[in-house]
Subunit: 196 residues, 2 copies
Amino acid sequence: MAAAAALMFEHGVGGTSTDDVQAAAGVSTSQLYHYFGDKRTLVRAVIAYQTQNVLDAQQPLLSQLDSLDALRTWRDAIVSLQRQRQCQGGCPIGSLAAELAETWPEARADLADGFGQWEAGIRNGLRAMHARGDLRPDADPDQLALATLAALQGGLLLTQVRRDTAPLEAALDAILAHIASLAAPDASDIAARHCP
Amino acid sequence: MAAAAALMFEHGVGGTSTDDVQAAAGVSTSQLYHYFGDKRTLVRAVIAYQTQNVLDAQQPLLSQLDSLDALRTWRDAIVSLQRQRQCQGGCPIGSLAAELAETWPEARADLADGFGQWEAGIRNGLRAMHARGDLRPDADPDQLALATLAALQGGLLLTQVRRDTAPLEAALDAILAHIASLAAPDASDIAARHCP
DNA sequence: CATGTTTTGGAGTTGACACTCCAATCTTGG
DNA sequence: CCAAGATTGGAGTGTCAACTCCAAAACATG
């Protein structure tokens, strides 16, 4: 399972044969087919596994993503993770999505669901900020959450292709700056403001 | 060539056999191998073809992408194109990138180059705005261009997976709003500004 | 310990796919 | 009109990947 996920992350679904998975996991053909039935089932299991993996990894930061500082810490964590991977591999869910979405409706649904959960994590934080009055009333936290996830995915893709974290940083910094610009000014800001 | 590009856009590179291409293009095996040598060469030709396609399609808008209005028109064009495609297919370059980047260094380089040209198109417009004083001096047009392309790619991916243009719109609107917030205030804005 | 059930090993089958090969056809230059 | 070369058709080949199958081993239950 973990072996299959790792191989498919590295070589794509199409580039990973069941033999490869067997060799990496140290199991025989019959075991693999006994537990998974066929390759499609295996792939869907990998989708679920990777979704869970990503969500678990993000959980600690995601659950408290309700301030600009938290968002910046989150950004830094993602960038440094990508850097330590030498920009190889993009997003585990995003890569699967791009490869499978168009050719396999069931997989697309699974992946849409995975993205949905991720988006929900981000959305919760932004909604909390909004409810607390940290974001201006006219800001739409749901839309910002969607835009943030999109920026992350696009940044990861470009970063993967260019082998350079600059696009990821630019994308996340832009969306964070945008969120910051929608932050409700607090008392001290108002006091400090002056006419030009 | 066009047939191969269309098939690979729809079913991915792995999901497109040389037989499929032959059937779609109405040519025989020997023609295909006479002109392309092998599948790898064909795929690289498809990458070049799609890059050119995208750049040509964007050219009219991209070459004048030097104002907020132009950016908004560009955004609308992309969203409506995606909508009329019923959100199928994502970005021709982005899909290829996600599928091939990790497993084939030469293709990755080709795709990085394609993205580079696209980014350059966006960058030119933003640099023009910056030079003309439409953007605040502390805004970095190069970084904004990168972030814009990333937002577009991420938005397209999520839109493809969810079969709904909302993510694309959210992503592009966020980055455009961010650029707008970096626009240098003109005389009338300053006149209209007042202390709270 | 006996018997039935689940799990495992690995050889074997089937089909698809990238690619080859040579004969037939068309094009070109004299 | 002829010969040399370029181009085309399509059957054929080797490889590889997904999946099957059955016998052997492990395990459970009375």
